[in-house]
């Protein structure tokens, strides 16, 4: 339980740190570069006004998130989220890497969509995601991917008139 509490405190600190860096980068680099301002008459609001105010608020609250743990010594008592439960030992390692594998699958699927179109993207992404979810029966992977791709293509292109790439 103590381990979980520490993890949650770490999560708070990490959130604070990430958003603090994000806010500083936004204010110092991104907003000046990505929101061009020419002439703003007096009394008028610049296009940078709201992004700067919102980023300022993010900066303040992320700093607060970093400072709050300093106000006390003991860890906060927060319930552990369900997703934090220890997975079964036999597939624990795979479960840990599966989200990262899926992120890679999603990126590759996007590239396949750009280069080869929907059908290649769909067949690959379905088979790869099924694999990531633990399906190891290759004929099933292939058959289900082909059938669902065909059905989705028919539904989208023929029924909804979506011109899939």
């Amino acid at each position: 339980m103590q381990k979980i509490k520490n993890k949650i405190t770490k999560k708070d600190l990490l959130t604070g740190l990430i958003f603090l860096v994000f806010a500083i980068l936004m204010l110092a680099v991104i907003i000046p570069y990505a929101v061009p301002v020419s002439f703003v008459p007096p009394g008028q609001i610049s296009p940078r006004f709201l992004p700067e105010v919102l980023t300022g608020a993010i900066l303040v609250f992320s700093a607060l998130l970093l400072l709050l743990p300093l106000l006390k010594k003991s860890a906060p008592s927060v319930k552990a989220p369900a997703a934090e439960e220890e997975p079964a030992a036999e597939n624990a390692t795979f479960l840990k890497i599966a989200p990262f594998l899926s992120i890679a699958v999603i990126i590759i699927s996007y590239l396949l969509l750009v280069w080869f179109g929907f059908i290649a993207c769909s067949i690959f992404s379905m088979a790869a995601i099924m694999f990531a979810f633990g399906e190891r029966n290759i004929p099933k992977l292939v058959i289900v991917s082909l059938i669902i791709t065909a059905l989705v293509w028919l539904f989208a292109v023929q029924l909804l008139n979506i011109p899939l790439p």
């Binding site: 709201l50 992320s62 709050l68 996007y110 995601i129």
Partner: protein
């Protein structure tokens, strides 16, 4: 009002409306029952389908998913001890013990009937309250609208789960995301990085699909399959055949009228408040029913009231949550934010003007919501027979299909591959934020109301020549500012207290 009401009703007299609603109810029941999926993902994926439908059938499809999705969550809660949606968590306490005693069918019927009651009750109140509330809101100027949106966002960020500060950060980040694209007054591009697809801003559908569906996929792939657990706790099929014990009569339901009415009121009240969602009122109504029961010790052992109370409350939230969404344009949770987005894509802008500009269509939805209880009851009864088989579907098939549907859904909004990229980026952002326990609803709601907030804020500042005093000089707006400050202070104090405890 009555002319619009009758005209709205006549719009419902069309087979496409009924067909769309039934499809929505069936999909909603299934996705609600499958742990990990839920109405938000289903509605997000179905939005492209609404492009080919007229407004009323399109919205009845989505509202059918919304209504049935909450009820669907009770099916896996009763049969497998796993709530399909968080709102059904309290149903587990008595629903699952009933299923273990061979009364799963009875528990599911009680859940269905009490859900229907909660739904009809809240939708009737919605029908009566939404238009007068919108009429009051019509008197609001840009300063009032800006401060009201700020208040709503503050409340949502504070109560939507997890740390309040994280909720606020998420809300501000959502607002920041809404500033991408053309500046509404000066016409300059913001954060477009010379990418033409970003000039009109980030599209809602890829953002919400990414935030909720893709992040859910990434979360689910890293946890063991609950279907494995389901098999071990599946109630004995032979016991289920005990037809007499599983029969629920009108008299049985009448005995629980008090609990159901209180639960419906609790659900409705919490539904109106932004950000609380369906889970808290379900637990509260369960506790309340237990407190006023003559046999509180029986709660948790598998009694009818223990299922009826939370199910009635979590479904009553539906109508309640739609009240501020329709009348004020403020979505109280992620589902209503998605529905608000879908309405806007259909050319209907929820808010004070909605009853003036689209009164007929809105009344059609409201009457449709009440009438759709009938197909929900029928579909719910039919679904009970096949629930076990559907719920035994492997996650690998469900989520791989969801991914492909997400790609199609994101692409179809503007027929643009860039939207698929946006979906992927927001999927990864959503996953990262969920790992850090940052709540996503404030982010989505901030994004959805962002444009309206900026418009109102800048109009106010144009009127006041840039002076922020306009927000405290106008009485209603000053009340909203004060309320926002109070909410902020109260939640900050709670956060500090919690840390010191």
């Amino acid at each position: 009002m009555f002319t619009d009401l009758i005209a709205g009703f006549s719009l419902l007299l069309n087979w496409t409306v009924l067909a769309a609603n039934i499809i929505g109810i069936v999909i909603g029941t299934i996705v609600g029952a499958i742990p990990g999926l839920g109405p938000v993902i289903a509605i997000a994926v179905l939005i492209p389908v609404t492009f080919v439908l007229p407004t009323v059938p399109a919205m009845m499809l989505l509202l059918g998913v919304y209504q049935a999705g909450i009820y669907g969550g009770s099916i896996s809660a009763v049969l497998f001890n796993i709530p399909g949606v968080p709102a059904a968590a309290a149903t587990v306490f008595d629903g699952f013990p009933m299923a273990q005693r061979g009364l799963g069918g009875r528990a599911l019927k009680i859940a269905l009937y009490s859900s229907t009651f909660g739904n009809i009750f809240s939708c009737l109140v919605l029908l009566l309250v939404a238009a007068p509330l919108a009429a009051i809101a019509l008197k609001f100027g840009p300063a009032e609208i800006a401060t009201l949106l700020l208040l709503a966002l503050t409340v949502i960020s504070g109560v939507s789960g997890g740390s309040m500060i994280k909720g606020l950060i998420a809300g501000f980040f959502g607002l920041l995301c809404s500033t991408v694209g053309l500046d509404p007054i000066w016409g300059t591009f913001r954060f477009t990085m010379e990418i033409p697809e970003l000039e009109n801003g980030l599209a809602l559908v890829p953002v919400l699909i990414g935030l909720f569906a893709i992040s859910e996929l990434l979360i689910q792939v890293g946890v063991p399959d609950p279907a494995l657990k389901m098999k071990s706790t599946n109630p004995d099929a032979e016991k289920q055949k005990n037809a007499k014990a599983n029969h629920v009569s009108l008299r049985d339901m009448w005995k629980m009228r008090g609990s159901m009415l209180y639960s419906a009121i609790i659900g409705l009240s919490f539904g109106i408040l932004p950000g609380i969602g369906s889970t808290t009122p379900a637990f509260m109504s369960y506790a309340f029913a237990k407190q006023r029961s003559k046999h509180p010790e029986k709660f948790g052992t598998g009694i009818d009231e223990g299922v009826a109370a939370p199910e009635c409350a979590n479904n009553a939230v539906t109508g309640g949550a739609l009240i501020p969404m329709l009348s004020l344009g403020i979505p109280g949770d992620a589902v209503t934010a998605v529905i608000l987005g879908a309405l806007m894509l259909q050319g209907i802008t929820p808010g004070p003007f909605v009853f003036r500009d689209n009164g007929v269509e809105v009344y059609a939805f409201l009457i449709g919501l009440i009438l759709s209880s009938v197909p929900t009851l029928i579909a719910g009864r039919i679904f009970l027979r096949y629930a076990v088989k559907i719920l035994a579907l492997k996650r690998c098939y469900i989520f791989s299909t969801v991914l492909v549907m997400c790609i199609v859904g994101s692409y179809s909004v503007n027929n643009s591959i860039a939207d698929v990229a946006i979906m992927c980026v927001f999927g990864f952002i959503g996953y990262g934020l969920r790992l850090l326990n940052v709540p996503l609803p404030p982010l989505l709601i901030g994004f959805v109301v962002g444009k309206g907030f900026e418009e109102a804020l800048r109009q106010s500042l144009l009127v006041s020549q840039g002076s922020l005093m306009i927000f405290v000089q106008r009485p209603i707006s000053a009340v909203f500012v004060a309320a926002s400050a109070l909410v902020l202070l109260w939640t900050m104090r709670s956060a500090l207290k919690k840390k010191k405890a």
